[in-house]
Symmetry: C2
Subunit: 359 residues, 2 copies
């Protein structure tokens, strides 16, 4: 089972990508195909001692996608980019999973076009792992779909639940619906409707539906999964990252403010490092693009060797554990349990659509 | 100029509310009308030495609103509650501003019904002050409107800009639009349209439009104001508050983990206190409900004496500085500069509606 790695994607490509891939091969023993400018990749492999590893293959890609290229343009014009090439390898079955820290929009667009979506999935979604006081929570979607319909939320819930079950080792992770209050009646027009569908899936045991959660529940770890539209999810993710940055900025300033605080700070270095490590969730690797027919992991543009190593491991593990098989099963189960015989034309409409697309 | 205070609203009412009002009167010399159970209020006034102050009046209210009462029910059935009574005093001109730390939904509903909205405003919105590395930023809406139309966002921008100009002492605060990327083309269907209207207001100088901002810009203080729908705004606000709590939880645990860290922590107590103070924005008082015809400040349910004191001062200051006059002027200016003669029926439709409601 080979992981295909886009060696050219990300701010630190190809160096950190190649080093991360080599580290993954050395530490976990998996096979990797590096895709990109062959000459550059070979040079990096040599400089980090990866050129001797038989488990690493290199596939040349003519073109390179820049971080500010428009996704639709890349989709049409850069068919020989490392992203296209890498995804085609997965499509053909030469690789079991794909990882890229490159242009997120381009990876999403190309993955949807090349790998296609799983049966029953309209739109792929990005799931991010957030740190909580209890461990971690999976938030989905965090930016792939900024305008969502009811069926999209329902699919996010099913996909994220399958993903969380694998990474958290829980059979049925609890799934919360992001809202503005915890009571069942709280929410906007669409989340109130989504609530009914998720309740139905919850009653039937397809997912473990917790109910509504709020922004404050993210770090509390109230539910294992939080379902949210890609707009609010993206805002929540970026606010969270930025809040950590804000606190660390203040800490840095205040700890330098006097001799006593400087001494105190030195004594606290190990504790502060531990906090940084706890708040850092890079060990979960990149964020999977759930719902495409093939494992596809998107890394942060700033991904370094360690982040790449974990992401490659994650891509491999999700393929081994049949993430997509699990999602497909769960979708099929949902289709069975969602009734179309309710006296509610709105409900029936959504379910009909869901079933049509799935079968 | 009297500030009307709902003495019965909030988790710590009436004690902390009365103490806060007394502190505001003593420190800033304003006049206050306390509304609620007269006997209870008099008792609290006596116990904190407020019974001798001539600047404090008490108005009895028969009914009390509970935190979990449904807003629509309160609106109809509890017409003698301290919220109704207090807002009527403002409506009649006996008070210049209203403050309550009670049931937010009830205060919003009653304020809209009793005070009515300002000309040109469809729906009132809540503005929250967030701490940033540069000082503060005003986010609006943070929960009053979970389903927004284009004209609502435009009104939020105008109202929040007026509010920010008063509390930040800037003639034209910069106004950012919350989105999922900073480029002009980023956003969901509705924010992309809102972007065009805000750009037009920016070009005409009614507001200083910065462009799109992202979740990570909240703590950076990229813009003075952030315009957002009440759903994503509420999520952002609660995630922010919760992120601070999360970091402090980790700090507490880690600082207790060894003797060295305990010593370090003791040396850092003053620095940590300063950080807490910087991240705390209670000095800005509660959150104003912008757009109602009368100043109305909503406090946190957990508001203590200090928070109430600042909120009462804020309510007073916003009335003195004619917040609502400023909003009305700005709305009138917008109506003038937004053109209906564009070759875009969608645009014309929104502007027509906006103008009709305003005139």
């Amino acid at each position: 089972m080979k992981v295909v790695v886009d060696a050219m994607g990300g701010d630190n490509a190809p160096r950190e990508i190649v080093k991360g891939a080599v580290a993954a091969v050395k530490q976990y023993g998996m096979q990797v195909i590096l895709v990109g400018d062959e000459q550059e990749i070979r040079r990096e492999l040599e400089s980090c001692g990866g050129d001797k590893l038989k488990k690493i293959e290199v596939v040349h890609a003519e073109e390179k996608v820049e971080m500010d290229d428009s996704p639709s343009q890349i989709l049409r014009t850069k068919r020989n980019s490392s992203i296209h090439q890498g995804l085609r390898l997965v499509k053909q079955g030469d690789g079991a999973a794909f990882f890229s820290a490159g242009n997120t929009g381009a990876v999403m667009a190309c993955a949807k076009m090349i790998l296609k979506t799983l049966p029953g999935i309209d739109r792929p979604a990005i799931a991010a792992v957030m740190p909580t006081v209890k461990g971690a929570t999976v938030m989905c979607d965090v930016g792939a779909n900024v305008d969502c319909k009811i069926e999209n939320y329902v699919q996010f819930a099913i996909m994220a639940s399958a993903y969380a079950s694998l990474i958290m080792h829980k059979e049925k992770p609890s799934v919360g619906l992001m809202s503005v209050g915890e009571e069942d009646v709280k929410g906007n027009d669409i989340t109130k409707n989504v609530f009914k569908f998720l309740s139905e899936l919850g009653k039937s045991g397809v997912i473990d539906f917790y109910g509504n959660v709020e922004g404050k529940d993210v770090f509390k770890g109230t539910s294992d999964v939080i379902v949210v539209d890609g707009f609010a999810g993206n805002v929540a993710l970026k606010v969270s990252e930025s809040a950590g940055w804000y606190v660390s900025q203040m800490l840095k300033e205040e700890l330098r403010s006097s001799l006593l605080t400087k001494i105190g700070a030195i004594l606290l270095i190990p504790a502060l490092k531990r906090i940084k490590k706890r708040a850092d969730h890079s060990e979960y690797g990149g964020a999977p693009l759930l719902g495409v027919n093939g494992v596809c992991i998107i890394g942060h543009g700033s991904a370094n060797e360690t982040a790449v190593k974990y992401s490659v491991k994650m891509a491999h593990d999700l393929a081994v554990k049949h993430l997509n098989g699990l999602i497909a099963e769960s979708i099929a189960e949902s289709v069975k349990v969602l009734n179309v015989d309710k006296e509610d034309s709105f409900w029936n409409n959504i379910v009909e659509k869901f079933k049509r697309k799935t079968i």
